[in-house]
Protein backbone atom coordinates (compact mmCIF):
# COMPACT_ATOMS: atom_id res chain seq x y z
CA UNK A 1 0.00 0.00 0.00
CA UNK A 2 1.40 3.40 -1.00
CA UNK A 3 2.27 5.62 1.93
CA UNK A 4 0.25 8.80 2.28
CA UNK A 5 2.57 11.76 2.71
CA UNK A 6 -0.04 14.49 3.03
CA UNK A 7 -3.55 13.97 4.29
CA UNK A 8 -6.20 16.40 5.35
CA UNK A 9 -9.52 15.68 6.97
CA UNK A 10 -12.23 18.29 6.89
CA UNK A 11 -9.61 21.02 6.73
CA UNK A 12 -11.30 24.39 7.14
CA UNK A 13 -10.16 27.99 7.40
CA UNK A 14 -12.53 30.84 8.14
CA UNK A 15 -11.71 34.53 8.17
CA UNK A 16 -14.66 35.94 10.06
CA UNK A 17 -17.75 35.08 8.06
CA UNK A 18 -15.77 34.19 4.95
CA UNK A 19 -14.85 30.55 4.45
CA UNK A 20 -11.56 30.37 2.55
CA UNK A 21 -11.16 26.60 2.77
CA UNK A 22 -14.18 24.46 3.43
CA UNK A 23 -14.00 20.89 4.66
CA UNK A 24 -11.16 19.81 2.37
CA UNK A 25 -10.04 16.19 2.59
CA UNK A 26 -7.24 15.22 0.24
CA UNK A 27 -4.37 12.78 0.13
CA UNK A 28 -0.98 12.93 -1.54
CA UNK A 29 0.89 9.66 -1.85
CA UNK A 30 4.63 9.17 -1.66
CA UNK A 31 6.36 9.46 -5.02
CA UNK A 32 3.52 11.09 -6.93
CA UNK A 33 3.26 14.53 -8.46
CA UNK A 34 -0.07 15.88 -7.29
CA UNK A 35 -1.61 18.82 -9.08
CA UNK A 36 -3.68 21.17 -6.97
CA UNK A 37 -5.95 23.15 -9.26
CA UNK A 38 -8.45 25.88 -8.80
CA UNK A 39 -9.36 29.38 -9.95
CA UNK A 40 -7.82 32.41 -8.26
CA UNK A 41 -9.17 32.78 -4.75
CA UNK A 42 -10.39 29.18 -4.61
CA UNK A 43 -8.37 28.42 -1.48
CA UNK A 44 -5.29 26.70 -2.91
CA UNK A 45 -2.66 28.88 -1.27
CA UNK A 46 -4.49 28.96 2.07
CA UNK A 47 -4.61 25.17 2.02
CA UNK A 48 -0.91 24.93 1.26
CA UNK A 49 -0.12 27.48 3.99
CA UNK A 50 -2.04 25.35 6.48
CA UNK A 51 -0.02 22.29 5.45
CA UNK A 52 3.16 24.22 6.27
CA UNK A 53 1.93 25.65 9.55
CA UNK A 54 1.95 29.24 8.28
CA UNK A 55 -1.81 29.49 8.77
CA UNK A 56 -3.78 27.84 11.54
CA UNK A 57 -6.84 25.83 10.50
CA UNK A 58 -10.12 26.75 12.16
CA UNK A 59 -11.42 23.25 11.65
CA UNK A 60 -10.36 19.76 10.63
CA UNK A 61 -6.85 18.43 10.67
CA UNK A 62 -3.86 17.87 8.45
CA UNK A 63 -0.88 15.57 8.65
CA UNK A 64 2.34 15.92 6.70
CA UNK A 65 5.04 13.25 6.63
CA UNK A 66 3.38 11.49 9.52
CA UNK A 67 3.24 14.54 11.76
CA UNK A 68 0.82 17.30 12.54
CA UNK A 69 0.94 19.95 9.83
CA UNK A 70 3.30 22.72 10.87
CA UNK A 71 5.39 20.51 13.14
CA UNK A 72 8.94 21.85 12.61
CA UNK A 73 10.24 18.29 12.13
CA UNK A 74 7.84 17.83 9.19
CA UNK A 75 8.41 21.31 7.77
CA UNK A 76 12.18 20.73 7.84
CA UNK A 77 11.67 17.69 5.57
CA UNK A 78 9.45 19.71 3.25
CA UNK A 79 10.61 22.21 0.65
CA UNK A 80 8.17 24.94 -0.13
CA UNK A 81 7.64 27.91 -2.38
CA UNK A 82 4.48 29.74 -1.41
CA UNK A 83 3.27 32.62 -3.57
CA UNK A 84 5.94 35.22 -4.26
CA UNK A 85 9.42 34.33 -3.05
CA UNK A 86 10.36 36.46 -0.02
CA UNK A 87 14.07 37.22 0.39
CA UNK A 88 16.29 39.97 1.79
CA UNK A 89 16.58 42.52 -1.03
CA UNK A 90 20.04 43.74 -0.03
CA UNK A 91 21.60 40.27 0.02
CA UNK A 92 22.81 38.40 -3.04
CA UNK A 93 20.96 35.31 -4.15
CA UNK A 94 23.81 33.22 -2.76
CA UNK A 95 23.78 34.92 0.65
CA UNK A 96 20.00 34.66 0.81
CA UNK A 97 20.27 30.92 0.27
CA UNK A 98 23.06 30.69 2.84
CA UNK A 99 20.85 32.40 5.39
CA UNK A 100 18.01 30.00 4.61
CA UNK A 101 20.40 27.03 4.69
CA UNK A 102 21.52 28.07 8.17
CA UNK A 103 17.92 28.35 9.32
CA UNK A 104 17.53 24.82 7.99
CA UNK A 105 20.59 23.71 9.95
CA UNK A 106 22.62 23.07 6.77
CA UNK A 107 26.15 24.03 5.78
CA UNK A 108 26.72 26.82 3.26
CA UNK A 109 27.56 24.40 0.44
CA UNK A 110 23.93 23.30 0.41
CA UNK A 111 23.18 26.72 -1.06
CA UNK A 112 25.62 26.13 -3.92
CA UNK A 113 24.01 22.81 -4.80
CA UNK A 114 20.55 24.37 -4.83
CA UNK A 115 21.74 27.28 -6.99
CA UNK A 116 23.28 24.87 -9.45
CA UNK A 117 20.13 22.81 -9.61
CA UNK A 118 18.01 25.76 -10.76
CA UNK A 119 20.71 27.21 -13.02
CA UNK A 120 21.31 30.34 -11.00
CA UNK A 121 24.99 29.99 -10.16
CA UNK A 122 26.08 32.64 -12.67
CA UNK A 123 23.81 35.28 -11.15
CA UNK A 124 24.12 34.19 -7.55
CA UNK A 125 26.38 37.10 -6.65
CA UNK A 126 23.88 39.77 -7.68
CA UNK A 127 21.61 41.44 -5.16
CA UNK A 128 18.14 39.91 -4.92
CA UNK A 129 16.59 43.32 -5.56
CA UNK A 130 18.14 43.35 -9.03
CA UNK A 131 16.53 40.06 -10.09
CA UNK A 132 13.68 39.78 -12.56
CA UNK A 133 10.48 38.13 -11.38
CA UNK A 134 11.49 34.90 -13.08
CA UNK A 135 14.92 34.87 -11.45
CA UNK A 136 13.36 35.54 -8.06
CA UNK A 137 11.06 32.60 -8.70
CA UNK A 138 14.04 30.37 -9.48
CA UNK A 139 15.69 31.42 -6.23
CA UNK A 140 12.46 30.54 -4.44
CA UNK A 141 12.57 27.08 -5.96
CA UNK A 142 16.24 26.79 -4.98
CA UNK A 143 15.32 27.61 -1.38
CA UNK A 144 12.64 24.93 -1.54
CA UNK A 145 15.22 22.38 -2.69
CA UNK A 146 17.60 23.06 0.22
CA UNK A 147 18.22 19.95 2.25
CA UNK A 148 16.85 17.51 -0.36
CA UNK A 149 13.29 17.52 1.01
CA UNK A 150 11.07 14.45 0.96
CA UNK A 151 8.10 16.55 -0.06
CA UNK A 152 8.03 19.61 -2.30
CA UNK A 153 5.15 22.07 -2.07
CA UNK A 154 5.25 24.46 -5.01
CA UNK A 155 2.65 27.17 -5.31
CA UNK A 156 2.62 28.55 -8.84
CA UNK A 157 6.34 27.94 -9.44
CA UNK A 158 6.14 29.14 -13.05
CA UNK A 159 4.79 32.58 -12.13
CA UNK A 160 6.78 35.21 -13.98
CA UNK A 161 8.93 32.74 -15.88
CA UNK A 162 9.55 33.29 -19.58
CA UNK A 163 8.95 30.37 -21.98
CA UNK A 164 12.50 29.18 -21.48
CA UNK A 165 12.05 29.33 -17.72
CA UNK A 166 8.79 27.42 -17.95
CA UNK A 167 10.52 24.75 -20.02
CA UNK A 168 13.33 24.59 -17.43
CA UNK A 169 10.78 24.24 -14.66
CA UNK A 170 9.02 21.47 -16.57
CA UNK A 171 12.33 19.62 -16.92
CA UNK A 172 13.06 20.13 -13.22
CA UNK A 173 9.66 18.75 -12.27
CA UNK A 174 10.15 15.82 -14.63
CA UNK A 175 13.55 15.12 -13.06
CA UNK A 176 12.06 15.30 -9.59
CA UNK A 177 9.26 12.98 -10.58
CA UNK A 178 11.74 10.56 -12.15
CA UNK A 179 13.69 10.59 -8.88
CA UNK A 180 10.56 9.57 -7.02
CA UNK A 181 10.19 12.96 -5.36
CA UNK A 182 6.75 13.67 -3.95
CA UNK A 183 5.52 16.99 -5.27
CA UNK A 184 2.38 18.93 -4.41
CA UNK A 185 2.07 21.41 -7.24
CA UNK A 186 -0.38 24.26 -7.51
CA UNK A 187 -0.43 25.71 -10.99
CA UNK A 188 -2.53 27.65 -13.44
CA UNK A 189 -0.77 25.96 -16.33
CA UNK A 190 -3.18 23.12 -16.95
CA UNK A 191 -1.10 21.85 -19.85
CA UNK A 192 1.87 21.55 -17.50
CA UNK A 193 -0.21 19.79 -14.91
CA UNK A 194 -1.62 17.40 -17.50
CA UNK A 195 1.89 16.50 -18.63
CA UNK A 196 3.53 16.37 -15.24
CA UNK A 197 1.08 15.22 -12.60
CA UNK A 198 -0.18 11.78 -11.69
CA UNK A 199 -3.26 12.90 -9.83
CA UNK A 200 -5.05 16.17 -9.31
CA UNK A 201 -7.33 17.74 -6.77
CA UNK A 202 -9.65 20.47 -7.97
CA UNK A 203 -10.74 23.11 -5.51
CA UNK A 204 -13.45 25.69 -6.12
CA UNK A 205 -14.87 28.20 -3.69
CA UNK A 206 -12.88 26.55 -0.92
CA UNK A 207 -14.26 23.06 -1.51
CA UNK A 208 -12.47 20.11 -3.03
CA UNK A 209 -14.77 19.15 -5.89
CA UNK A 210 -12.69 16.38 -7.45
CA UNK A 211 -9.67 14.29 -6.66
CA UNK A 212 -8.60 11.67 -9.12
CA UNK A 213 -6.00 10.36 -11.52
CA UNK A 214 -5.83 12.66 -14.53
CA UNK A 215 -6.59 9.80 -16.92
CA UNK A 216 -9.74 8.97 -14.97
CA UNK A 217 -10.86 12.58 -14.96
CA UNK A 218 -10.36 12.97 -18.70
CA UNK A 219 -12.21 9.72 -19.35
CA UNK A 220 -11.94 7.55 -22.43
CA UNK A 221 -11.11 9.03 -25.80
CA UNK A 222 -13.89 9.55 -28.37
CA UNK A 223 -14.15 9.90 -32.14
CA UNK A 224 -15.16 13.12 -33.81
CA UNK A 225 -16.75 12.86 -37.25
CA UNK A 226 -17.92 15.44 -39.77
CA UNK A 227 -19.66 13.99 -42.81
CA UNK A 228 -22.53 14.82 -45.18
CA UNK A 229 -25.35 14.20 -45.46
CA UNK A 230 -25.55 14.34 -41.71
CA UNK A 231 -28.61 12.09 -41.33
CA UNK A 232 -27.01 9.32 -43.35
CA UNK A 233 -23.76 9.68 -41.44
CA UNK A 234 -25.58 9.49 -38.08
CA UNK A 235 -27.36 6.32 -39.23
CA UNK A 236 -24.13 4.64 -40.32
CA UNK A 237 -22.32 5.66 -37.15
CA UNK A 238 -25.19 4.37 -35.03
CA UNK A 239 -25.09 1.05 -36.83
CA UNK A 240 -21.30 0.67 -36.42
CA UNK A 241 -20.79 2.07 -32.87
CA UNK A 242 -24.25 1.68 -31.39
CA UNK A 243 -26.87 4.43 -31.36
CA UNK A 244 -26.33 5.31 -27.73
CA UNK A 245 -22.69 6.13 -28.43
CA UNK A 246 -23.46 8.77 -31.03
CA UNK A 247 -24.08 12.40 -30.06
CA UNK A 248 -24.63 15.07 -32.73
CA UNK A 249 -22.54 18.22 -32.31
CA UNK A 250 -23.81 21.75 -32.78
CA UNK A 251 -21.41 22.27 -35.72
CA UNK A 252 -22.93 19.52 -37.85
CA UNK A 253 -20.52 16.84 -36.74
CA UNK A 254 -20.92 14.10 -34.19
CA UNK A 255 -19.08 12.68 -31.19
CA UNK A 256 -18.88 8.93 -30.94
CA UNK A 257 -18.00 7.56 -27.53
CA UNK A 258 -16.12 4.53 -28.74
CA UNK A 259 -12.63 3.11 -28.87
CA UNK A 260 -10.58 5.10 -31.40
CA UNK A 261 -9.60 1.72 -32.86
CA UNK A 262 -13.03 1.66 -34.43
CA UNK A 263 -12.01 4.49 -36.79
CA UNK A 264 -11.00 2.38 -39.87
CA UNK A 265 -14.19 0.32 -39.76
CA UNK A 266 -16.29 3.46 -39.34
CA UNK A 267 -14.56 5.21 -42.24
CA UNK A 268 -15.10 2.24 -44.55
CA UNK A 269 -18.78 1.99 -43.60
CA UNK A 270 -19.34 5.70 -44.21
CA UNK A 271 -17.65 5.61 -47.63
CA UNK A 272 -19.49 2.44 -48.67
CA UNK A 273 -22.77 4.14 -47.72
CA UNK A 274 -21.98 7.01 -50.08
CA UNK A 275 -21.43 9.52 -47.31
CA UNK A 276 -18.82 12.22 -47.92
CA UNK A 277 -16.36 12.04 -45.05
CA UNK A 278 -14.80 15.44 -44.22
CA UNK A 279 -13.15 14.69 -40.89
CA UNK A 280 -12.56 11.70 -38.67
CA UNK A 281 -10.28 11.97 -35.70
CA UNK A 282 -9.78 10.56 -32.26
CA UNK A 283 -10.23 13.10 -29.52
CA UNK A 284 -9.43 13.15 -25.81
CA UNK A 285 -10.84 15.68 -23.42
CA UNK A 286 -8.15 17.99 -22.17
CA UNK A 287 -7.63 18.64 -18.49
CA UNK A 288 -8.68 22.20 -19.20
CA UNK A 289 -12.08 21.07 -20.46
CA UNK A 290 -12.53 18.79 -17.50
CA UNK A 291 -11.50 21.58 -15.15
CA UNK A 292 -14.06 23.97 -16.54
CA UNK A 293 -16.79 21.37 -16.47
CA UNK A 294 -16.05 20.72 -12.83
CA UNK A 295 -15.76 24.34 -11.75
CA UNK A 296 -18.80 25.35 -13.79
CA UNK A 297 -20.76 22.61 -12.11
CA UNK A 298 -19.55 23.96 -8.79
CA UNK A 299 -20.89 27.34 -9.75
CA UNK A 300 -17.67 29.02 -10.75
CA UNK A 301 -16.31 28.83 -14.27
CA UNK A 302 -15.61 32.42 -15.11
CA UNK A 303 -17.69 35.44 -16.02
CA UNK A 304 -21.18 34.86 -17.42
CA UNK A 305 -21.16 34.24 -21.16
CA UNK A 306 -17.52 33.22 -21.26
CA UNK A 307 -16.74 30.23 -23.39
CA UNK A 308 -14.84 27.92 -21.10
CA UNK A 309 -13.28 26.11 -24.02
CA UNK A 310 -11.61 29.28 -25.22
CA UNK A 311 -8.10 29.80 -23.87
CA UNK A 312 -8.64 33.55 -24.00
CA UNK A 313 -11.83 33.41 -21.98
CA UNK A 314 -10.12 30.99 -19.64
CA UNK A 315 -7.31 33.42 -19.02
CA UNK A 316 -9.66 36.32 -18.53
CA UNK A 317 -12.22 34.46 -16.52
CA UNK A 318 -10.76 32.10 -14.03
CA UNK A 319 -7.21 33.31 -14.15
CA UNK A 320 -6.00 30.22 -15.93
CA UNK A 321 -3.41 30.05 -18.63
CA UNK A 322 -3.55 27.19 -21.04
CA UNK A 323 -0.68 25.86 -23.04
Amino acid sequence: MTETVVSTTGLTKRYGPRVAVDDVSLAVRRGEVYGFLGPNGAGKTTTLRMLLGLVRPTGGSARVLGRRAGDPAAVARTGALIENPGFYPYLSGRDNLRVMARYHGLADDAAERALDRVGLTARAGNAFRSYSLGTKQRLGVAAALLGDPELLVLDEPTNGLDPGGVADMRRLLADLAADGQTVLLSSHLLGEVQETCDRVGVISQGRLIAESRIADLRGAASLHVRATPVDAALAVAGRVAGESAVTPDADGGMRIDADPGLAPELARALVEAGVRLHELRARERTLEEVFFELTRAAGRAGPPGADPASPRSARDGAGLVTR
Binding site: L52, P72, I82, N84, G86, F87, L91, R102, Y103, A143
Partner: protein
Protein backbone atom coordinates in the same frame (compact mmCIF):
# COMPACT_ATOMS: atom_id res chain seq x y z
CA UNK B 1 26.28 19.25 19.60
CA UNK B 2 26.88 21.49 16.57
CA UNK B 3 25.01 24.74 16.11
CA UNK B 4 23.38 23.37 12.98
CA UNK B 5 21.63 20.68 15.04
CA UNK B 6 20.18 23.10 17.55
CA UNK B 7 17.44 25.14 15.83
CA UNK B 8 17.86 28.12 18.15
CA UNK B 9 21.61 28.37 17.50
CA UNK B 10 21.16 27.69 13.80
CA UNK B 11 18.59 30.48 13.63
CA UNK B 12 20.89 32.86 15.51
CA UNK B 13 23.73 32.08 13.06
CA UNK B 14 21.42 32.67 10.12
CA UNK B 15 20.12 35.95 11.53
CA UNK B 16 23.61 37.17 12.38
CA UNK B 17 24.70 36.51 8.80
CA UNK B 18 21.92 38.56 7.35
CA UNK B 19 22.26 41.34 9.93
CA UNK B 20 26.01 41.55 9.32
CA UNK B 21 25.41 42.13 5.61
CA UNK B 22 22.59 44.63 6.19
CA UNK B 23 23.77 48.14 5.25
CA UNK B 24 21.01 49.70 7.38
CA UNK B 25 22.48 48.09 10.50
CA UNK B 26 25.88 49.69 9.93
CA UNK B 27 24.26 53.02 9.18
CA UNK B 28 22.31 52.87 12.45
CA UNK B 29 25.33 51.80 14.48
CA UNK B 30 27.51 54.41 12.78
CA UNK B 31 25.01 57.18 13.46
CA UNK B 32 24.71 56.05 17.08
CA UNK B 33 28.47 56.10 17.52
CA UNK B 34 28.78 59.47 15.81
CA UNK B 35 26.10 61.03 18.03
CA UNK B 36 27.79 59.58 21.09
CA UNK B 37 31.14 61.09 20.14
CA UNK B 38 29.77 64.43 18.98
CA UNK B 39 27.50 65.11 21.96
CA UNK B 40 29.58 63.28 24.54
CA UNK B 41 33.01 64.62 23.64
CA UNK B 42 33.50 66.80 20.56
CA UNK B 43 31.00 69.57 21.29
CA UNK B 44 31.73 69.58 25.01
CA UNK B 45 35.46 69.72 24.42
CA UNK B 46 35.08 72.56 21.93
CA UNK B 47 32.84 74.34 24.45
CA UNK B 48 35.37 73.75 27.20
CA UNK B 49 38.23 75.03 25.08
CA UNK B 50 36.30 78.12 24.04
CA UNK B 51 35.10 78.64 27.57
CA UNK B 52 31.47 78.83 26.51
CA UNK B 53 30.20 75.85 28.52
CA UNK B 54 28.70 72.53 27.50
CA UNK B 55 26.64 71.86 24.40
CA UNK B 56 23.40 71.95 26.34
CA UNK B 57 24.04 74.61 28.94
CA UNK B 58 26.59 77.31 28.99
CA UNK B 59 26.29 77.67 32.79
CA UNK B 60 28.05 74.34 33.40
CA UNK B 61 31.34 75.05 35.20
CA UNK B 62 34.44 74.25 33.10
CA UNK B 63 35.79 71.85 35.75
CA UNK B 64 32.61 69.82 35.59
CA UNK B 65 32.80 69.71 31.80
CA UNK B 66 36.40 68.56 31.89
CA UNK B 67 35.62 65.85 34.46
CA UNK B 68 33.05 64.37 32.08
CA UNK B 69 35.59 64.38 29.25
CA UNK B 70 38.35 62.54 31.11
CA UNK B 71 38.57 58.77 31.60
CA UNK B 72 37.15 59.01 35.12
CA UNK B 73 33.89 60.40 33.68
CA UNK B 74 33.41 57.75 31.00
CA UNK B 75 30.69 55.78 32.86
CA UNK B 76 28.47 58.85 33.36
CA UNK B 77 29.19 60.43 29.96
CA UNK B 78 28.48 57.17 28.15
CA UNK B 79 25.23 56.54 30.01
CA UNK B 80 24.01 60.09 29.48
CA UNK B 81 23.55 59.61 25.73
CA UNK B 82 21.70 56.32 25.96
CA UNK B 83 18.20 56.82 27.38
CA UNK B 84 16.94 59.10 24.61
CA UNK B 85 19.14 59.35 21.51
CA UNK B 86 20.83 55.98 21.71
CA UNK B 87 17.60 54.33 22.73
CA UNK B 88 15.79 55.75 19.71
CA UNK B 89 18.35 54.17 17.39
CA UNK B 90 18.01 50.80 19.12
CA UNK B 91 14.24 51.07 18.84
CA UNK B 92 14.76 51.60 15.12
CA UNK B 93 16.99 48.54 14.97
CA UNK B 94 14.43 46.28 16.67
CA UNK B 95 11.51 47.56 14.62
CA UNK B 96 13.33 47.29 11.30
CA UNK B 97 14.74 43.85 12.05
CA UNK B 98 11.38 42.30 12.87
CA UNK B 99 9.16 44.52 10.72
CA UNK B 100 11.39 44.09 7.68
CA UNK B 101 10.71 40.36 7.79
CA UNK B 102 7.03 41.07 7.27
CA UNK B 103 7.66 43.69 4.60
CA UNK B 104 10.00 41.49 2.56
CA UNK B 105 8.05 38.30 3.15
CA UNK B 106 11.10 36.63 4.68
CA UNK B 107 9.29 35.33 7.76
CA UNK B 108 7.36 33.02 5.42
CA UNK B 109 10.54 31.82 3.71
CA UNK B 110 12.33 31.35 7.02
CA UNK B 111 9.50 29.39 8.62
CA UNK B 112 9.22 27.06 5.61
CA UNK B 113 12.84 26.05 6.28
CA UNK B 114 11.59 24.35 9.42
CA UNK B 115 13.32 25.98 12.37
CA UNK B 116 10.01 26.40 14.17
CA UNK B 117 8.56 29.74 15.17
CA UNK B 118 10.01 29.76 18.67
CA UNK B 119 13.51 29.00 17.43
CA UNK B 120 13.33 31.48 14.56
CA UNK B 121 12.17 34.24 16.91
CA UNK B 122 14.61 33.22 19.62
CA UNK B 123 17.43 33.24 17.08
CA UNK B 124 16.47 36.75 16.02
CA UNK B 125 16.50 37.91 19.64
CA UNK B 126 19.87 36.25 20.20
CA UNK B 127 21.27 37.98 17.12
CA UNK B 128 19.93 41.34 18.28
CA UNK B 129 21.38 40.72 21.73
CA UNK B 130 24.75 40.10 20.10
CA UNK B 131 24.46 43.40 18.25
CA UNK B 132 23.54 45.23 21.46
CA UNK B 133 26.44 43.75 23.42
CA UNK B 134 28.85 44.53 20.59
CA UNK B 135 27.57 48.09 20.28
CA UNK B 136 27.73 48.83 24.01
CA UNK B 137 31.23 47.38 24.22
CA UNK B 138 32.31 49.44 21.22
CA UNK B 139 30.80 52.63 22.65
CA UNK B 140 32.65 52.18 25.94
CA UNK B 141 35.93 51.44 24.15
CA UNK B 142 35.57 54.42 21.82
CA UNK B 143 34.63 56.69 24.72
CA UNK B 144 37.63 55.56 26.76
CA UNK B 145 39.75 56.28 23.70
CA UNK B 146 38.23 59.75 23.33
CA UNK B 147 38.65 60.44 27.04
CA UNK B 148 42.26 59.33 26.91
CA UNK B 149 42.85 61.67 23.99
CA UNK B 150 41.33 64.56 25.96
CA UNK B 151 43.52 63.78 28.95
CA UNK B 152 46.59 63.86 26.70
CA UNK B 153 45.49 67.09 25.04
CA UNK B 154 44.83 68.68 28.41
CA UNK B 155 47.96 67.20 30.01
CA UNK B 156 45.83 65.57 32.69
CA UNK B 157 46.79 62.34 34.42
CA UNK B 158 44.35 59.65 33.20
CA UNK B 159 42.48 58.73 36.37
CA UNK B 160 40.56 55.59 35.50
CA UNK B 161 37.14 55.06 37.05
CA UNK B 162 36.71 52.22 39.55
CA UNK B 163 36.05 48.91 37.80
CA UNK B 164 32.80 48.52 39.74
CA UNK B 165 31.53 51.83 38.32
CA UNK B 166 32.44 50.77 34.81
CA UNK B 167 30.74 47.40 35.30
CA UNK B 168 27.59 49.02 36.68
CA UNK B 169 27.48 51.50 33.82
CA UNK B 170 28.11 48.73 31.29
CA UNK B 171 25.28 46.65 32.73
CA UNK B 172 22.97 49.66 32.81
CA UNK B 173 23.81 50.47 29.20
CA UNK B 174 22.98 46.90 28.18
CA UNK B 175 19.68 47.10 30.05
CA UNK B 176 18.69 50.44 28.53
CA UNK B 177 19.52 49.33 25.00
CA UNK B 178 17.93 45.90 25.48
CA UNK B 179 14.69 47.54 26.60
CA UNK B 180 14.53 49.90 23.62
CA UNK B 181 15.45 47.10 21.22
CA UNK B 182 12.69 44.91 22.67
CA UNK B 183 10.28 47.83 22.37
CA UNK B 184 11.19 48.08 18.68
CA UNK B 185 10.72 44.33 18.26
CA UNK B 186 7.23 44.56 19.74
CA UNK B 187 6.37 47.59 17.58
CA UNK B 188 7.57 45.78 14.44
CA UNK B 189 5.55 42.71 15.36
CA UNK B 190 2.38 44.63 16.14
CA UNK B 191 2.62 46.68 12.95
CA UNK B 192 3.67 43.69 10.80
CA UNK B 193 5.98 45.99 8.92
CA UNK B 194 8.81 48.47 9.42
CA UNK B 195 7.32 51.84 8.47
CA UNK B 196 4.47 52.18 10.94
CA UNK B 197 6.52 50.54 13.68
CA UNK B 198 9.40 52.97 13.27
CA UNK B 199 7.11 55.99 13.02
CA UNK B 200 4.98 55.21 16.02
CA UNK B 201 7.93 53.94 18.05
CA UNK B 202 9.92 57.12 17.57
CA UNK B 203 6.91 59.33 18.24
CA UNK B 204 6.41 57.45 21.50
CA UNK B 205 10.03 57.52 22.59
CA UNK B 206 10.87 61.08 21.56
CA UNK B 207 7.58 62.91 21.97
CA UNK B 208 4.76 61.15 23.81
CA UNK B 209 6.78 60.19 26.88
CA UNK B 210 8.17 63.70 27.26
CA UNK B 211 4.70 65.17 26.85
CA UNK B 212 3.29 62.81 29.48
CA UNK B 213 6.06 63.76 31.92
CA UNK B 214 5.28 67.40 31.22
CA UNK B 215 1.58 66.84 31.81
CA UNK B 216 2.41 65.01 35.05
CA UNK B 217 4.04 68.20 36.36
CA UNK B 218 0.71 70.02 36.21
CA UNK B 219 -1.69 67.10 36.54
CA UNK B 220 -0.82 64.93 39.51
CA UNK B 221 -3.06 62.06 38.46
CA UNK B 222 -0.81 61.38 35.45
CA UNK B 223 2.36 61.22 37.56
CA UNK B 224 2.02 57.57 38.66
CA UNK B 225 1.89 56.58 35.00
CA UNK B 226 4.59 58.97 33.82
CA UNK B 227 6.92 57.77 36.58
CA UNK B 228 6.96 54.21 35.32
CA UNK B 229 7.18 54.75 31.57
CA UNK B 230 9.97 52.90 29.74
CA UNK B 231 11.81 56.13 28.97
CA UNK B 232 11.47 57.26 32.58
CA UNK B 233 13.05 54.02 33.76
CA UNK B 234 15.88 54.32 31.22
CA UNK B 235 16.56 57.96 32.08
CA UNK B 236 16.38 57.28 35.81
CA UNK B 237 18.89 54.45 35.59
CA UNK B 238 21.36 56.72 33.82
CA UNK B 239 20.65 59.52 36.32
CA UNK B 240 20.88 57.15 39.26
CA UNK B 241 24.37 56.07 38.16
CA UNK B 242 25.79 59.56 37.96
CA UNK B 243 24.78 61.04 34.62
CA UNK B 244 23.65 64.64 35.05
CA UNK B 245 19.89 64.98 34.73
CA UNK B 246 18.44 67.27 32.09
CA UNK B 247 16.73 69.25 34.86
CA UNK B 248 20.20 69.95 36.32
CA UNK B 249 21.55 71.24 33.02
CA UNK B 250 22.51 67.73 31.90
CA UNK B 251 21.62 65.65 28.84
CA UNK B 252 18.04 65.33 27.50
CA UNK B 253 16.47 62.05 28.57
CA UNK B 254 18.46 61.72 31.81
CA UNK B 255 16.12 61.81 34.83
CA UNK B 256 16.15 61.37 38.56
CA UNK B 257 12.54 60.26 38.93
CA UNK B 258 13.42 56.77 40.19
CA UNK B 259 16.40 55.39 42.08
CA UNK B 260 18.80 53.23 40.09
CA UNK B 261 17.64 49.95 41.64
CA UNK B 262 13.90 50.26 40.91
CA UNK B 263 14.71 51.74 37.51
CA UNK B 264 16.87 48.74 36.62
CA UNK B 265 14.18 46.35 37.80
CA UNK B 266 11.54 48.18 35.79
CA UNK B 267 13.73 48.09 32.68
CA UNK B 268 14.23 44.35 33.08
CA UNK B 269 10.48 43.85 33.41
CA UNK B 270 9.78 46.00 30.34
CA UNK B 271 12.41 44.12 28.32
CA UNK B 272 10.92 40.76 29.26
CA UNK B 273 7.33 41.85 28.72
CA UNK B 274 8.05 43.39 25.32
CA UNK B 275 10.02 40.35 24.14
CA UNK B 276 7.46 37.87 25.45
CA UNK B 277 4.50 39.77 24.03
CA UNK B 278 6.13 39.92 20.60
CA UNK B 279 7.00 36.23 20.87
CA UNK B 280 3.44 35.29 21.79
CA UNK B 281 2.16 37.14 18.72
CA UNK B 282 4.71 35.53 16.42
CA UNK B 283 3.89 32.08 17.76
CA UNK B 284 0.15 32.47 17.34
CA UNK B 285 -0.48 34.62 14.31
CA UNK B 286 -0.93 33.49 10.72
CA UNK B 287 1.95 34.36 8.42
Amino acid sequence: MSAARVPLLASARAELLRLRRWPALWVMLGVGMLLDLLFGYVFNYLGYRSGSGSEVNERTPPDQILHGLLPGGVPETTLAGMPLFGGAILLLLGALTIGGGYGWGTWKTVLTQGPGRASAYGGTLAALATVVVTLVTAVFLVNFGAALLVSVLESQAPHWPPAADVARAYGAALLIYAMWTAAGVLAGTLARGPALAVGLGLVWALAVENLLRGVANVLGAVAPVADVLPGTAAGSLAGGLGATAFADDGTPGVLTTLDAGPAALLLAVYTAVFALAAGALILRRDV
